[in-house]
Structures are given as C-alpha cells and as structure tokens.
Symmetry: C2
Subunit: 156 residues, 2 copies
C-alpha cells in the first residue's frame, strides 16, 4: 500500500518543481475540467488525502478553502505540514486494517460506512486521477508534463 | 493488488458506456495531451496493461497500432479479449511475486530489469493517470465525466 503513496508523494514533489517555472497567474488560471486550475488541483489532492487519513485516525478533517492557500509556497507548505501526519499512518499500515470500518455522517445528514482499505485506495486513485488532468493542462501551456511512470523511481 | 485492477476495469467499462453517446468523430479527434485522443487513450491503456502482463508471463507483447482498432467496437472487443488473460494472472497474484525480477531488452538495445510488484503498480497508475486526461476532454465536450471515485463501487 505504502508504495503507491510514495509514488504519489514523489510525483507531487515533481509537480511542485514544475510549477516553479510557471507564472503564478497560469497556476491560478481557471481551466476546464477537474477542480478548474493547476494550484487548486494540488491543494485539493493534499486536502483530500489529509482529510480521509484524519477520518481514519478519528481526528477532525481539514475544512479551509483554497482561497486561503492560493500561492505555490502556501500549497507546498501545507503539503509538508500534513505529510508529517499522513506519512506515519501510511507507513504503519498493516493487512489487518483493511477491513476495519469507518462510519461517518456527511454534511447532508447521510450516514455512510467504508472499509479502511477502500478509503486508502480511494485516496491513491484520487491523486493519480487529478495528476492526469494536470498533464493535459501542461501540454496546453506548451510544457512537458512530469512523467507519470511508476517504474524508474527507485520505489522497488 | 487486485482491488485497484478491478477499479480500473469498472472505470474503463464506464468510459466505454460514456463513449456510446459521443459521435465517433469526437472519439477520434486529435486532442492536446496524453496520446492525443479519447479512443486512442482507451486503446493505449488496454495495450499497455496487456503488454506488461504478457512480459510478466513470458509471452510476446502486443505490437499492433491504434489505426488497426480505430472504432469503439474494436477497442471494446480488444479489451474483452485481453481481459481473458489479464484477469487470471492478476487474480492469482500473491505477495511472494512482489520481488520477482523481469529482465528485458528494449527496442533501443537497453537492458532493463524491474520487480514484478513495481510493474503491477506501474500498470495500475498508468490507467488511472490516462483516465484523468479523459475527464478533462469530457468537460471540453460539455459532458459529465465518469466518476473516478473508488468508494461506492462495491469493491469492498
């Protein structure tokens, strides 16, 4: 399980590096698809990963809006801050946690329950999916996107 | 491991269903990013999944071009055909296969070696990443994309 998280964290860092060469107005520009922008997508990935892990740990989730973090530095700092909590939980993952159940009540009052293993995979797929959107916007900007390859990253 | 493959296969089927409501010229149209088109992306996902699994099984990889499969029906049929071989290998996956080594020589003569667990995760991430690109093109067409959610798919 950890390997795919490590992949996501590497790819995220590569996108942060990619962002350094792009004018901030392009990072903030409204685009078609996903949550509608490059930096907003990176914020959203970080928010969703952290909020679900908080859910699994019984901690309150993160609820602040993107507007409060709308610069590359703020998004990178937020990622680093949350990583201090996300990494240990993910690194301590064991097979017997797969079938544990999280029950929650959503803002609309709906009661939901998910298996821990289901949520961990949801978080993994969520980030990879949104990164795919960044790759299209990168080409629209005339820039080569970060490689999405899992191989050749020293993960094995 | 199997769960994320099952997720990809469900999402892929949802995209095939999504394609049925889209004119074929839109499915074939050249677009910015990825391999440059909706149907070509679905073909590429199927090709890459099958070719890597063939590699792990010691079978010859698939080498035909997209041009030979440039209709929704042909791509769906190819997916179903390859699935007969991909599914059993994936379903029979065990922990002790993680560190097995595949060695290969690439077309440029480079000798490469990868762990089996590395390749399986590469295949998973590859499909999710390209599906993210489809979601952008879907919005460009004014259509709601297939949900990328792993939760609520009955996978756990």
């Amino acid at each position: 399980m950890l390997k795919l998280f490590e992949y996501n964290w590497q790819v995220r860092q590569d996108w942060f590096d990619w962002c350094r060469d792009v004018p901030e107005e392009e990072l903030l520009k409204k685009r078609t698809g996903g949550v509608g922008g490059i930096l907003h997508t990176l914020f959203h990935i970080i928010d969703v990963e952290y909020s679900w892990i908080c859910g699994l740990e019984g901690k309150p989730e993160f609820k602040e809006p993107f507007d409060a973090y709308a610069s590359l530095k703020q998004v990178m700092d937020l990622s680093a801050e949350f990583h201090k909590e996300v990494r240990p939980f993910t690194a301590a993952w064991t097979e017997d946690m797969e079938q544990k159940v999280l029950t929650d009540t959503w803002p609309n009052g709906e009661k939901v329950s998910f298996k821990y293993g289901e949520i961990m995979r949801h978080v993994i797929a969520h980030e990879i999916h949104h990164i795919g959107q960044l790759s299209v916007w990168s080409r629209e900007l005339g820039k080569v996107p970060v490689t999405a390859n899992f191989i050749r990253r020293g993960l094995f």
